[in-house]
């Protein structure tokens, strides 16, 4: 039986391969494909680099949070990474238990903060809507009334001046 893996099949098995958990019967065909396909070979190399970088054994100072890792996980959680970075982090969290734990913890805190925020909102009892709109209208009313009074005074003054002229010259 001559099995030839497609690139899609390689994609689905890549995680097991990296972890060394690929079934021995499939390993030969997996490696055969990698020999012939530079694209898949590059994918495996890139993923291996990411895993190696974040592997627990390569991060002896785990008690100090890895700022870069947290930064990327934080941006991943906010959906602010570009597609390539997104996929890298997603794969890394699947394969690295430490990163996965950190991400899960971050989601828990997110939920806690949202619960606190919702409680703050729900505990508020005031309603400023009527008073704000009333203040807005008062301001307009005041300006309109003031303007109207000025116009009336001006017209009266004009009439007085014209009457004065008529009286003087006639």
């Amino acid at each position: 039986m001559n099995i030839q893996f497609t690139c899609n099949q390689i994609e689905s098995l890549i995680g097991y391969f990296i972890e060394g958990k690929l079934a021995p019967s499939l390993l030969e065909f997996f490696n055969q494909h990698l020999k012939k396909c530079p694209k898949c070979r590059k994918k495996v190399e890139q993923l291996q680099k990411v895993i190696t970088k974040y592997a627990p054994e390569n991060n002896p100072h785990e008690s100090k949070p890895d700022k870069e890792l947290i930064g990327n996980l934080s941006a991943y959680m906010d959906n602010e990474l570009d597609t390539g970075e997104n996929v890298k982090i997603k794969k890394m969290t699947i394969l690295n238990p430490n990163a996965r734990q950190k991400l899960e913890s971050m989601y828990k805190f997110k939920k806690l903060m949202h619960n606190a925020y919702e409680k703050t909102k729900n505990d508020t009892k005031f309603d400023y809507s009527k008073s704000i709109v009333a203040t807005l209208n008062e301001g307009q009313g005041y300006t309109t009334t003031y303007f109207r009074n000025i116009i009336i005074l001006f017209v009266l003054l004009l009439i007085a001046v014209i009457t004065g002229f008529i009286y003087l010259y006639f």
């Binding site: 949070p65 700022k67 947290i70 930064g71 996980l73 934080s74 941006a75 906010d78 602010e80 913890s105 971050m106 828990k108 805190f109 997110k110 939920k111 806690l112 903060m113 949202h114 619960n115 606190a116 925020y117 919702e118 409680k119 703050t120 909102k121 729900n122 508020t124 005031f126 309603d127 400023y128 809507s129 009527k130 008073s131 704000i132 709109v133 203040t135 807005l136 209208n137």
Partner: protein, 197 residues
């Protein structure tokens, strides 16, 4: 002419558009819909509850007075957060006896993108019950204990759902700086609140 119930059923965008047409009933309903968010956001931005109610009213009044200046109703949430943040910064300047710099001018970072604000579905069961008063106090204390720039960034991100680009625009910083501030805020909060998860 819509009646009271019609206004209650309208979406924020619809109320914004009507408010811009001087429909005061729509404006009233719009204020009713956003006032709790404004209050809650300010309560996490400020270091104490002093002046919280006054500042909330100040923001709502600015919203009401300037709603017609908002060119794109789709940018309402970002515009409102711009007002909240600027009002907060002006309050800080007043405390330091510096002159206020009020700017209502706001340009949407990306006009084509949709601004997605997560609004919880009232009819769906909450995954977890509301936390206790003590827990809420501790979360607020932890957030209020953050350095100001971290606090503003995390509040705008977590509670107002702004993108990094929008936060950068609102706080006059770069996207990279916003990313760093948010992740550092989360690290600090994680440390302060690890007993509450």
């Amino acid at each position: 002419m819509p009646n009271k119930n019609d206004y209650k059923k309208m979406k924020i965008d619809e109320l914004v558009v009507l408010s811009q047409q001087e429909d005061f009933s729509a404006l009233e309903e719009l204020i009713r819909k956003v006032q709790k968010d404004v209050f809650a956001t300010l309560s996490y931005m400020l270091k104490s509850n002093e002046n919280l109610y006054d500042l909330t009213q100040e923001v709502l009044l600015k919203l009401a007075r300037n709603i017609s200046n908002l060119h794109n109703p789709k940018c309402f949430q970002g515009w409102l957060n711009h007002i909240i943040t600027n009002t907060y910064y002006d309050y800080l300047r007043k405390l330091k006896n510096k002159p206020p710099v009020i700017s209502i001018e706001y340009s949407c970072p990306s006009q084509d993108s949709e601004i997605n604000i997560e609004i919880p579905d009232k009819h769906s069961k909450p995954i977890e019950k509301c936390i206790t008063n003590e827990c809420e106090r501790q979360v607020k204390k932890a957030i209020r204990g953050l350095p100001e720039v971290f606090r503003i960034a995390i509040v705008l991100r977590e509670f107002q759902g702004l993108s990094y680009e929008e936060i950068a625009s609102t706080t006059n910083s770069s996207i990279g700086t916003v990313k760093s501030r948010i992740s550092r805020a989360r690290m600090k909060l994680h440390e302060d609140l690890k007993n509450y998860t």
